[in-house]
C-alpha cells in the first residue's frame, strides 16, 4: 500500500492537470492533440521543441550538478543572462562562435563564483545570494541592450546582430532547420556531468559531502574548495546555455533573453528527481510543454494558455516532492535504530 502511494500521487496530479485544462474551455482530447502537434507534429514543431530543449538541458545539467552536491543554486536564470550577454559581446568583438561560447561559460562561472565564495566564507545562504544576482542580471540586461551593447542604429533595444562567423553551426532539420550544435553539446555536457558524479573520486566525494561532510573531510578530500569549483561549474553550464541560445537561435540579444528558462531548468532538474538518467526526458517534457502550449494558443485562440505550462511545472514538482516524501516514510526495516 505504501509503495503504491507515489503512483497515486502521480495519477492524482495528472488528473488535476487534465481538469485544469478542461476548465480552460477546451475539450481534453482536442487539447492534448494540439499540444502534441505543437511539440512533435512536424519537423518545424520538433525544431521548436529542440530549440528550447538545448539551452534548457545545459542549464538543468548545471543545476543538477549543484543540487547533487548539496548546493542550492537557483541562480541559473541570472547565470544564463550573464552568459548570453558575454557571448553577444565576445561574438561581436571576435566574430568567432567558439569565443562566444567560451565567454558565456566564463561569465556564468563568475556569476556563480560569488555566491559560492559568500556561502563558504561568509555563511551567506546560496538561495538568497543567487536570487539577488538573478535580479541584478535582469537589470544588467536591460541596461546593456539599451546602452553599450545596443545595435548601431540605436532604434531597437537589442544588441547588434551577431556576425555570421559567430553563429552556431546548424544541423539540418526541417525548413527552418533550427537545430543547432547546442543540442549535441548539451547531451555531451549531461554525459560528462553524469559520469563525473557517478564514476570519479571527486564526484562521489562531493555527493557524500552533501549529507556527510565529516566523512569527506575524514577521507582527506578538500571539500570546501571542491564545492566552490562545483558551484562555478554549474554556473558555467548555465552561462553556456545562455551563449547557446544567443549564438544558435536568436543571433541577437534583446529583453526577451532567458525569460524564465533558468527557473525552468531548476524545475526540470527537480522533476527528474535530480537523476541524470531522467534529466533529458524531463527537459524534453518541459520543452514540449512550452512549444506545445504556444501552438495551443495559436490554434485554440486562448490567450495566455502558454503560461499554463508553468502551472503544470509547479504541479509536476509538487507531485514528485510528495511522492518522494511518502516513500521515505515507509515503515523501518528490521534492525533499524530506535527513534530518538
Amino acid at each position: 500500500m505504501r509503495r503504491a502511494a507515489p503512483w497515486c500521487v502521480a495519477a492524482g496530479a495528472a488528473l488535476l492537470a487534465l481538469l485544469l485544462l478542461r476548465a480552460q474551455g477546451l475539450p481534453i482530447a482536442a487539447a492534448l492533440r494540439a499540444l502534441a502537434q505543437g511539440a512533435f507534429g512536424d519537423a518545424n514543431a520538433w525544431s521548436a521543441t529542440l530549440r528550447i530543449a538545448a539551452p534548457l538541458l545545459l542549464a538543468a545539467t548545471g543545476v543538477l550538478l549543484c543540487f547533487r552536491c548539496g548546493l542550492w543554486n537557483i541562480g541559473a536564470e541570472g547565470q544564463l543572462l550573464f552568459g548570453g550577454l558575454a557571448a553577444a559581446y565576445a561574438g561581436g568583438a571576435t566574430g568567432a562562435g567558439s569565443m562566444a561560447l567560451l565567454a558565456g561559460a566564463l561569465a556564468g562561472a563568475a556569476g556563480a563564483a560569488l555566491p559560492a565564495w559568500l556561502s563558504a566564507r561568509r555563511g551567506v545562504p546560496e538561495v538568497l545570494s543567487t536570487l539577488m544576482l538573478n535580479g541584478l542580471a535582469l537589470e544588467l540586461l536591460r541596461w546593456l541592450v539599451t546602452g553599450p551593447l545596443q545595435e548601431p542604429t540605436r532604434q531597437f533595444p537589442q544588441s547588434a546582430p551577431l556576425p555570421a562567423g559567430a553563429w552556431l553551426p546548424q544541423l539540418g532539420l526541417g525548413s527552418t532547420g533550427a537545430v543547432h550544435l547546442g543540442l549535441p553539446l548539451a547531451l555531451v555536457a549531461l554525459l560528462v556531468v553524469a559520469l563525473f558524479l557517478a564514476r570519479t573520486r571527486a564526484g562521489v566525494a562531493l555527493r557524500a559531502g552533501a549529507t556527510a561532510p565529516n566523512l569527506a573531510l575524514a577521507a582527506g578530500f578538500p571539500l570546501a574548495r571542491a564545492r566552490i569549483l562545483a558551484f562555478a561549474a554549474g554556473g558555467a553550464l548555465a552561462g553556456l546555455a545562455g551563449a547557446v541560445d544567443v549564438t544558435g537561435v536568436a543571433r541577437v540579444v534583446d529583453r526577451s533573453l532567458a525569460q524564465g528558462l533558468g527557473y525552468a531548468a531548476v524545475a526540470a532538474a527537480l522533476l527528474a528527481g535530480l537523476q541524470a538518467r531522467w534529466l533529458a526526458l524531463s527537459v524534453l517534457l518541459f520543452a514540449a510543454l512550452q512549444s506545445g502550449t504556444a501552438q495551443l494558443q495559436w490554434v485554440a485562440s486562448l490567450p495566455g494558455i502558454d503560461r499554463f505550462g508553468l502551472v503544470l511545472q509547479g504541479l509536476a514538482i509538487a507531485a514528485v516532492v510528495v511522492a518522494v516524501a511518502l516513500r521515505r516514510r515507509a515503515p523501518p526495516r528490521p534492525g533499524a535504530e530506535p527513534p530518538r
Binding site: L195, A198, R199, T200, R201, A202, V204, A205, R207, A208, A210, T211, A212, N214, L215, A216, L217, A218, A219, G220, F221, P332, R333, P334, G335, A336, E337, P338, P339
Partner: protein, 486 residues
C-alpha cells in the same frame, strides 16, 4: 513508602531490536531510584514510556497503583510526571520566562505581568535568573537549573532526570545533589537515569541495573558495591562466550616501529595526555561515553585541531572508524559501491567503470560479511550492523598502518562482533598500530594488549583484567564522590 509509578512487565521493540524486555520497576515517593546501564540498555526507552512519548508493546504502567495509559506528554503532565532532559528541552532563542511559562502561558499578557509570574516561579525554585535573559546566554549549570525548574512545574509526582551530571562541573553537581535531596524530602519520586556509578552510589535509595533491555541487578542503598555494579552493567556474568575464539595475544619480541606519538595533547574535552602506539599493538581506551574519547580520536586523525601538544609521529596510511556511524561514517543516500569508493579504500585511478566499482565493492562486501542484495543499494537501506560492517570494509581494506576506531562493534551481533575483533587483531599482527576507544568492557578486555581507562579526558593505565578495571573505576568514583582530587 507508596509507589508513585510502576512499570509492570513492560516490553518494547523497535524493528528487530528488543529495547525493553519484561521489566518490572517501581518508583517510590520520597526516594531516589537510580537506573544504571550502558547506552542501549533500555533506560531512555523506559523514560519515554513514562512521559507518554512511546507506548509499551506489552505490560502496563501503574500510577499510584492504577493502570494508566499515557497517550502523550500532556497526559503524562496531567499525572504529574515530568523529565529533566539530557539535551535540555529549552528553546534557546526564547527567554527564561518564556521557557518557564511555555507549558501554561495565558492567552495574552503584558510584559510586566509575564515577568512577574516568571519571577514568582523562579523564586519558588530558588533561581536567581533574569526572566528576560535569552536562554542562549546562560551557562550550562544555569540552564540545567532552569530545565529542572521547568520540569518541576509539572512534576508533582514523578521527576525523571536523564544523565543530569553529564555536563556539570563537580561544584555544579554538588548543588544539584543538594536540590535532589530537598526534592526527595518533599515526597517526590525521583528517577535518576545515569551510567555514572559514582552518582548512583552517592544519591540512590534504590538502584536498578539494566542491560540489554532487562533488569540485571537490583539493590538498595549499601547492598552492592561499585565493583558488583560495574559487573552487572557490563555483563560479567555469562557474556564470556564470544564465539569461543581466543584472540591472539600481543606479538612478543622486539616492539614494532612507532605509528603514533602524542605529547601533551589536549582538546576541549580531553588532555593533556601522552600516548604512544606501536606497530603490532592493540591499545584500548575504555570508559563511558562523554569522557572525551570522540574528540581525542578526531584530533588524532586530524579532523579537528588540538588545543595544545604535538603529534610527533602519525602514520599517513590511517583508518578512521568514527563513533557516529550514520552521521560521519557513511553517506547514507549513496550506494554501497560508492561509499566504498571514498578515501583510502578507493579503487585506483580517477575514473571508474560501473563494473570496476561493483567488483571492487563485491570483494569487500563479501570479505567483511556485509549482507546486502547488491552493491548498488543505498547505505541507508542496510541494517545498523551491516552499516558498521560497511564502514569497516572501507577503512580496513588496504594495509593501514594505524587504525583509529571508536566503538567499532556497537550494534553488532555476537558473530559480527567476533569477526570485527578478529579483523582488528589481524591488522595489528600485520603491522598496524591499533587504537580503539570503546564503552564495552568485554571488548576492551578481549582486544587490549595495553589498556587505559579514560575519565574526564584523562588516561589512566590499568591492567587488562576485569577485576583491575572494576577496581580502578570504583576507585576513581569513590575519589570523586568524596570530593577528592583527580
Amino acid at each position: 513508602m507508596s509507589v508513585a509509578l510502576a512499570f509492570v512487565g513492560v516490553s518494547r521493540r523497535f524493528g528487530a531490536r528488543q529495547a525493553v524486555d519484561r521489566v518490572d520497576l517501581e518508583l517510590h515517593a520520597g526516594e531516589i531510584h537510580a537506573l544504571l546501564g550502558e547506552n542501549g540498555a533500555g533506560k531512555t526507552t523506559l523514560a519515554r514510556m513514562a512521559l507518554g512519548l512511546v507506548a509499551p508493546d506489552a505490560g502496563r504502567i501503574e500510577i499510584a497503583g492504577r493502570p494508566t495509559a499515557l497517550r502523550d506528554p500532556a497526559a503524562a503532565a496531567a499525572h504529574g510526571i515530568a523529565m529533566v532532559h539530557q539535551h535540555f528541552a529549552l528553546a534557546e532563542g526564547l527567554s527564561v520566562a518564556e521557557n518557564l511559562l511555555l507549558a501554561d502561558a495565558p492567552c495574552c499578557w503584558s510584559r510586566r505581568a509575564f515577568h512577574a509570574r516568571a519571577e514568582e516561579r523562579l523564586t519558588r525554585h530558588g533561581l536567581a535568573l533574569d526572566p528576560a535573559a535569552p536562554v542562549a546566554t546562560l551557562a550550562l549549570g544555569a540552564r540545567q537549573r532552569l530545565e529542572i525548574a521547568r520540569a518541576l512545574e509539572r512534576a508533582t509526582r514523578v521527576l525523571l532526570l536523564d544523565e543530569p551530571t553529564a555536563v556539570l562541573t563537580p561544584a555544579e553537581s554538588e548543588t544539584l545533589f543538594a536540590e535532589l535531596d530537598a526534592l526527595r524530602r518533599r515526597g517526590l519520586a525521583l528517577a535518576l537515569i545515569t551510567h555514572r556509578l559514582e552518582d548512583a552510589l552517592r544519591l540512590a535509595d534504590r538502584i536498578t541495573v539494566l542491560r540489554d533491555g532487562r533488569v540485571a541487578a537490583r539493590a538498595r542503598r549499601g547492598e552492592l558495591d561499585a565493583a558488583a555494579l560495574t559487573r552487572a552493567q557490563f555483563g560479567a556474568e555469562g557474556s564470556a562466550a564470544i564465539g569461543g575464539n581466543a584472540l591472539p595475544a600481543a606479538a612478543p619480541g622486539t616492539p614494532g616501529p612507532l605509528r603514533l606519538v602524542a605529547r601533551g595533547l589536549a582538546g576541549a574535552t580531553f588532555g593533556p595526555l601522552d600516548l604512544e602506539v606501536r606497530a603490532g599493538e592493540r591499545v584500548v581506551v575504555t570508559g563511558v561515553d562523554g569522557n572525551g574519547q570522540g574528540e581525542l580520536l578526531a584530533v588524532l586523525h586530524g579532523l579537528r585541531p588540538a588545543r595544545a601538544g604535538t603529534l610527533a609521529e602519525r602514520s599517513a596510511a590511517r583508518a578512521f572508524i568514527p563513533g557516529e556511524r550514520q552521521r560521519d561514517g557513511l553517506a547514507l543516500p549513496l550506494a554501497l559501491a560508492e561509499n566504498l569508493a571514498l578515501g583510502r579504500g578507493a579503487p585506483p585511478g580517477r575514473f571508474w567503470s560501473r563494473r570496476r566499482l561493483a567488483d571492487h565493492a563485491r570483494a569487500r562486501l563479501e570479505r567483511f560479511d556485509v549482507r546486502a542484495l547488491s552493491p548498488w543499494q543505498t547505505a541507508a537501506e542496510l541494517s545498523g550492523g551491516n552499516q558498521q560492517k560497511l564502514v569497516l570494509a572501507r577503512e580496513l581494506a588496504g594495509a593501514p598502518e594505524l587504525v583509529l576506531a571508536e566503538n567499532p562493534t556497537r550494534g553488532l551481533d555476537l558473530a559480527a562482533t567476533a569477526f570485527v575483533r578478529a579483523e582488528l587483531c589481524a591488522r595489528a599482527a600485520a603491522g598496524a598500530g591499533v587504537l580503539v576507544a570503546t564503552t564495552d568492557l568485554d571488548e576492551a578486555l578481549a582486544l587490549a594488549t595495553r589498556l587505559f581507562v579514560i575519565v574526564r579526558g584523562r588516561l589512566a593505565p590499568v591492567a587488562a583484567t576485569r577485576a583491575a578495571v572494576a577496581a580502578r573505576l570504583a576507585e576513581l568514583a569513590a575519589d570523586r564522590a568524596a570530593g577528592g582530587a583527580r
